[in-house]
């Protein structure tokens, strides 16, 4: 599904290398987790894959189902099936959540040459999916993320994911700022979307989220590279011993 080869990335504005040769393959139907200490480049990887400005790719490639992502605009990557659940979802005053969702769904459909969803059909689907994430009608009417609590913002991210039905979902520290109940709700939302044709890349600091979203593969990232790859037990090792041992081991 997603194949990253020797990806090198630096900041556009300063001479600072962030990613120093990332290699990663995520197969369809699988959940991969990336863990790592602060500043290891996890969030940068998610931004670069989704097309955020401010970064310069100095080498390597990243393909989604064989198609190079790095040449595309952010909206083209989305239409190709990539989705990033933001660590800090952006507030957009003046744009209704519902309008936003419908615009996004139809823009992607249009880009793929599919028929747009009618207002009635859209409303039916969104209500159903919102209900399972405990998002009420009021939240759908409000401007995007404005005045939402931390938990509401993350649930709103998952709702967008459910509506857009992407192939490759990247979750950037979706557990940050969530209490236990909210995390469970979000994890349930993610688990409901697990499917054979869909893959997940879950970026997190903590093992806790991975109790709820069970990964197939766990990667440890440090200093701009994947330094170790293993099964779910690797996350437990981090939880118990911290990163120091692993980093010392690969150094």
């Amino acid at each position: 599904m997603l194949e990253i080869k020797d990806l090198h990335v630096k900041l556009e504005e300063e001479d600072k290398q962030i990613l120093k040769g990332v290699n990663l393959t995520v197969e369809a139907g699988k959940v991969h987790a990336i863990m790592g200490p602060n500043g290891s480049g996890k969030s940068t990887l998610s931004y670069v894959l989704s097309g955020k400005g401010g970064y310069e790719v100095t080498g390597g490639s990243a393909t989604l189902e064989g198609v190079e992502l790095l040449d595309m605009e952010a909206e083209e990557r989305a239409a190709a099936g990539l989705f990033l659940a933001f660590q800090y979802p952006v507030e957009i005053p003046g744009v209704g959540n519902m309008t936003f969702l419908r615009t996004a769904v139809n823009a992607q459909r249009k880009a793929r040459g599919e028929a747009e969803m009618s207002a009635g059909e859209f409303l039916k689907v969104v209500r159903e999916k919102a209900k399972s994430l405990k998002i009420d009608a009021e939240m759908l009417k409000r401007p995007v993320n404005v005045g939402f609590s931390g938990g509401e913002k993350k649930r709103n991210e998952i709702l967008q994911m459910a509506m857009l039905e992407p192939k490759m979902c990247i979750l950037d520290e979706t557990d940050s700022g969530l209490d236990v109940d909210a995390m469970k709700l979000v994890a349930d939302g993610v688990n409901a979307l697990r499917a054979d044709g869909r893959a997940f890349l879950v970026i997190t600091h903590y093992q806790r989220l991975l109790d709820h979203i069970k990964p197939d593969v766990v990667h440890i990232m440090a200093d701009g590279r994947i330094v170790k790859t293993g099964g779910p037990e690797l996350a437990l090792e981090v939880e118990n011993n911290g990163y120091a041992d692993i980093l010392a081991e690969v150094a």
Partner: protein
Amino acid sequence: MAGSAKMLQIRQDVTDARLAPLTVPAGGAWATEARSAAVARVQAMGLPHGRDEYWKFTKPDSFLSPDIAPAAAFDTDEAPLWADMDRLKIVFVDGVFDAGASDDLSLEGMEIERLADVTAKDIHWAKDLFGVLETNSHNAVPRPFAALNTAFASDGVVIRVTGKVSKPVNLIYLHKSEVSDAILHSCIKVEEGAEMTLLETGAAAARLNKVLEVEICDHASFHHVRVQGRDHERRAVTGIFTRLGTESTFKSFTLTMNGVMTRNECVIELTGDDANATIGGACVGDGKDFHHDDTVFITHDAVNCESRQVFKKVLRNGATGVFQGKILVKPDAQKTDGYQISQALLLDDDSQFLAKPELEIYADDVACSHGSTTGAIDEEALFYLQSRGVPKAEATALLVLAFLAEALEEIENPALAEGILERLEGWFVRHAA
């Protein structure tokens, strides 16, 4: 010759040159007197000079010249604005009333007359309004183009509202001639407890000077929505002059798209207690020739009145926006609540917004707030939308419309606001990056 004497001479020469080709329209004794007095006012004040403080941000030159720059009528295949709405339509072509294209000037709850007919009469109630509010406005700042309008306008409407009129009156200003130079003057008196909605749409002429005087009596309401014509090359200097009685309401919104030069002045006097005035505007400008100026002067001269100014501008490709807004609170105007916000969204580094917010307060129990901001599009929000698959141009339009939404909320009637929104959406489709 001393500097000031030289300036005076230049001003005199410019004023004489502008007035030379104009003729005071023939009319009844009262109208002739009012117009002669207006000519005298223009001569006494002189027309503006680029060095005048009030014209510092907007060059008056294109309104001073006796000759006008030609302006082509903008062809568009958009559906007419508010087409499905029941309105009384009054049509002017290049500043001249077109009876054939207009509805019958009769509507229950109001008397509508053509200015030319009113000024021909020997006696008419409009004597107490025509040029009167315009004259009062000069107490604070001279507004010579408005006085020039009173002196030379031969067309417009005069309306007396006596009931609560549900159907809006739509003044439709068609622009057909490339060299039309129109002067339109309308007077509206909303009698005690009466209500009306006035709509104004269209470019009107290559160059337009328009004045609207509105007297709002006690407990009366006046709603106004204006869409200034989208002709790219048109120029307009307009003035709204209004006076509010006790517990009366004035609400006005203007949408401006295109046009090379627009100066919209609005002078509001709150003279009765508990009155409420709102003036709002949204403007979208594209290109270095685009210049749009909102100049507002609100005087609080009664107790417990509220005033709101909400102006939003979106500027790109070197366009210029100007806002000059002043709230004057007189010593007895206690419990005044004044609010003023002017904001510009600059879509590139070449565009500019010049703002001069002013408060002058002589009462001590007053709440007045004002703010002015200039900013660029929120890159984080733009990326968020793009990351969800919304193309950049569409995402930009969505964010810009969200920015303008606060001003559109000042429109009382949702159906009218809907029409404005459609116009804006159309503009963004045509002006996609």
